[in-house]
């Protein structure tokens, strides 16, 4: 049964939620989620690229020859990544600094290339856009959630965006941040436990 437009969109939020269901695109998930803001920023940047490349690949799919399709995908994706890079430098410079090397690395994020190959090259433009947006938003939420958990425990406070923030010490005055969480090993372990949690709910 072919999926409706809405279903193509919503599947990215649970059924195929990256990086939990599709275990792809792990590097940024681990690398930038020291805070919620970083996670969301990274997610939005990836969503932009995902949406754009899905749209363009799907649009051009009748023109792109089978043999050089990967090369074409890469050029398209890399162009969108560069655009994001430049735009972020111009308008959200502090975030750009924090995300560092992971912005150019969107180009090799398996999710983006994976969707181009597995979905956009085979489906109509509208569906591809829904797919890209859904997967992108799912990814953004996952990154944001992981960032929130790590920041809350590791820093004692969460900055959602800009000035909107919550400080754990307002509820537990003597809480000392568990900074293991914002360090490298904490990233892996936290993601592993979240994956366990999601698996347990899924069953």
């Amino acid at each position: 049964m072919p999926k409706t437009l809405v279903q193509e969109f919503t599947k990215g939020l649970w059924e195929e939620l990256p990086p939990f269901r599709l275990v792809l695109g792990l590097c940024p998930v681990l690398g930038v989620t020291t805070s919620m803001e970083n996670g969301l920023g990274m997610g939005i940047a990836t969503t932009f690229v995902l949406f754009g490349s899905n749209f363009l690949v799907s649009l051009l799919r009748s023109i792109i020859p089978q043999k050089v399709r990967i090369a074409c995908f890469i050029i398209i994706i890399a162009s969108f990544v560069t655009i994001v890079e430049l735009l972020m430098q111009a308008y959200t410079y502090p975030l750009y600094l924090k995300l560092g090397v992971f912005i150019p690395l969107i180009v090799v994020n398996c999710i983006v290339l994976g969707r181009a190959e597995a979905f956009a090259y085979k489906n109509k433009v509208l569906y591809s856009m829904a797919d890209g947006l859904g997967i992108g938003i799912g990814y953004t939420l996952a990154l944001g959630a992981l960032g929130a958990v790590r920041e809350l425990l590791g820093n004692g406070s969460v900055t959602v965006w800009g000035d909107l923030s919550y400080n754990l010490s307002s509820a537990f005055p003597s809480f000392q941040p568990f900074s293991f969480m914002v360090q490298a090993p904490g990233a892996f372990i936290c993601l592993g436990l979240m994956l366990c949690f999601i698996n347990a709910i899924g069953d």
Partner: protein, 190 residues
């Protein structure tokens, strides 16, 4: 920073996988068996040395010269993708034995953050050519080392009675975290 420090830093202190979080998909994907881990490790070393140096040359002598620095991402990924293709074809024809060993891992490398990441880091850290060469090689050695050690643990974990929701990727991530913790041993050694 002398070359000795650079080497220690690349392999241990700033390990590409465990400290910089680059190349995690192949790290989790090819570590279930020791054999595949060794194969992937070797393939990454091979490609990374080529990619790291070639992108350095292209960046320094083409992009910078002609003011095209903003095309870095697109240029690098095209170089890496074609390089992998080329290496694959070359090995298939000239060294079939090596191809048989590394062949299946090569395509995985195109979308491996570690390769792209090291190329970008070489530029960001303003390395000289020789430094870029050494760093690329030893970052890749660090990748291979972490991968092989991880595979050793994972072979055992696969046989253990891990609770259902934790099985496979979840426990692998947690173990990876512990390896990353163990690598803190080398903090401050350079």
């Amino acid at each position: 920073m002398g070359y000795f420090e650079l080497i220690i830093a690349c392999i241990f202190v700033n390990n590409i996988l465990l400290a910089q979080f680059l190349g995690n998909c192949p790290f989790l994907g090819t570590s279930k068996k020791m054999e595949t881990a060794v194969g992937m490790g070797m393939a990454v070393i091979f490609v990374l040395v080529l990619a790291g140096t070639i992108t350095w040359v292209i960046y320094t002598f083409i992009l910078v010269k002609f003011g095209l620095v903003y095309l870095r991402t697109i240029a690098f990924i095209v170089v890496i993708a074609s390089l992998v293709q080329f290496v694959e074809m070359f090995l298939k024809k000239s060294i079939p034995a090596l191809y048989a060993g590394l062949g299946i891992f090569l395509p995985l490398i195109t979308t491996n953050c570690a390769v792209m990441g090291v190329c970008v880091l070489n530029i960001d850290k303003e390395f000289t050519f020789l430094q870029a060469l050494v760093a690329s090689f030893f970052y890749a050695v660090g990748f291979a080392l972490a991968l092989i050690l991880f595979a050793g643990l994972r072979e055992r974990i696969l046989l253990a009675r891990v609770p259902k929701p934790l099985q496979d990727t979840s426990i692998a991530l947690i173990t990876a975290g512990m390896i990353s913790l163990a690598f803190f041993a080398f903090q401050g050694m350079v």
